[in-house]
Subunit: 322 residues, 2 copies
């Protein structure tokens, strides 16, 4: 059995060059109140301000813009819980090529609307990773084109790593970087970037306890490929691939999990205290810090990837259902 | 009749020096979507990330920290719809002195909670400017101390002007700066800063049509001292003073007004598109831009003071009342 190919730090650096002028260099914010609440020094890399409202623009633009012209002209296919789909739709529009996006039933309205606004074609499937992959495969067979997988893709992983790269460059000395984990594209890209900097920055993942395949796999030392339960963090329902797990095993120090109630409460606190509109998935690392669940982050200088801000403002999780 | 004393550009520069290290130099953000929606180039000076969540920290810290020790020790008194009160409470705590804050009935919960958290004493009064002023006067007579008026104060106006000063320094060439107007402390300070820069930057005010004393006074050429109606923009219910009106008359190019529905819709758009938690008062300038009500801002390079982010997350104006 051959191992899946893996991106290197050079791929992250190349992605950073390719992305210049195509996606935003997002601001890094601080909050003295958050520092006090969590006992440490925290830097927030605000990918909620990224194009299409999430870090996913980095991987999508890197993948779409590294395709040869002929391949690009045949179109892009992907499947996504929403943010990756919107990012691919936007990247494809800017490249001037067609995009077909498979999304699960129940995709958050603002994410679906973005995919449509960027001019891609939407295909709705059952809300499982297997159904998403099957539908994307069928589309590729039907019409050709290139799959830009939401996380199991060297160019996507390298692109996602550029957020941490910018963060580390800007802040200087950091003890650790914390990012949410779902399929593992962001976490493995972040880990690759941190390892490549060679300054001993530890990388931690944050995951909903209700969808904790990464934490369980990490503990077990092998990929536990079982479905995840329901989590309000709609962007964190996927499971690791062999490729992302290998990078995580090699470069990540720990993965902490938090409850659904902790996610909702961290999201609300981020809105109240940080004045940032963030989506539930993005609240997961904040919930880890607020819960004190990972003692190795206490009292340290920690960078956090604020992953995205695409949330349905009519259905806020701390309010009674309308 | 003597004219009220007026701050100068030098006062704004002195305030900037005094505030260094005491309040945040807030980030300036951009949004390509907002640029496209409103037809222009916009820079957002994010005072929602300021200490205590609003630009008010600038004026309050400038006033409280410019007091001689003896005066400071006698304590600070103010009246406020909330943000100025919280800012004064925080500044007084850091100066180590007592603060008494008069707030009107119906003050937004998050603002009242901040005043309490910062250790000031709260005095609730009827929701009129006259009642607020009467209660503050009574407190000063009873216990002594210094009034730090929310806007009719040279040090407060100079402090508020530092937000625009930082914005103009950071962005370089701007055609205009746009700020909300209530009692006029922020708008007159902004105008003073812009005039002092001497680079021909026009200053515009934005006001709720339901509380448009500034727009009417500006048009009439004299202070129209009549009460304002109810507006959802809870920070913009005060009326100009002679002092702030004189500065506005001299340095401001225009004041545009927007409806309550336009304010709610701009606030929601800011959350959706800018990913910033802003309060209703802060949405007023955005509503001016979105409505196209001020043609002199179309197609220009405009800085906007994002004034504050203290909003009750349980009572969002676009949701049915809970």
């Amino acid at each position: 059995m051959s191992l899946p190919s893996s991106p290197t730090f050079a791929d992250v650096q190349e992605a950073a060059a390719r992305l210049r002028g195509r996606v935003h260099r997002t601001p890094v914010l601080r909050s003295s109140t958050f520092d006090r609440l969590c006992g440490g020094e925290f830097w927030f890399k605000c990918e909620n301000f990224q194009r299409a409202g999430a870090f996913k623009a980095r991987g999508a633009f890197n993948a779409v813009f590294s395709l040869p012209d002929e391949a690009a002209r045949a179109g892009i296919v992907t499947h996504s819980s929403g943010n990756h789909g919107a990012a691919v739709a936007l990247a494809a529009r800017e490249r001037g090529v067609r995009a077909d996006i498979v999304i699960p039933e129940g995709t958050v309205a603002i994410k679906r609307a973005a995919i449509e606004r960027y001019g891609a074609t939407i295909h709705v499937c059952e809300p499982t990773l297997a159904a998403r992959e099957a539908r994307a495969s069928a589309l590729l067979q039907e019409r050709g084109g290139t799959l830009v997988h939401p996380f199991d893709d060297v160019r996507v992983i390298a692109g996602q790593g550029t957020a941490a790269l910018e963060l580390m460059e800007e802040v200087g000395r950091l003890d650790a970087v914390l990012a949410p984990v779902s399929g593992g594209g962001l976490l493995s890209g972040t880990a690759l970037a941190a390892a490549g900097m060679g300054t001993g920055i530890a990388v931690f993942g944050a995951e909903p306890a209700a969808a904790d395949d990464a934490a369980r796999s990490f503990r077990a030392g092998h990929l536990i490929d079982q479905g995840n339960g329901f989590t309000i963090a709609d962007g964190l329902r996927a499971t690791l691939s062999e490729r992302t797990f290998a990078l995580i095993q090699r470069h990540v120090t720990g993965i902490a999990t938090v409850s659904e109630a902790e996610i909702v409460s961290a999201m609300r606190l981020a809105w109240d205290v940080l004045k940032l509109v963030i989506e539930p998935s993005c609240a997961v690392p904040l919930a880890v810090l607020l819960s004190g669940r990972e003692p190795r982050l206490q009292g340290r200088r920690v960078g956090i990837i604020i992953s995205g801000g695409n949330v349905d403002l009519d259905r806020l999780s701390w309010l009674p259902a309308g």
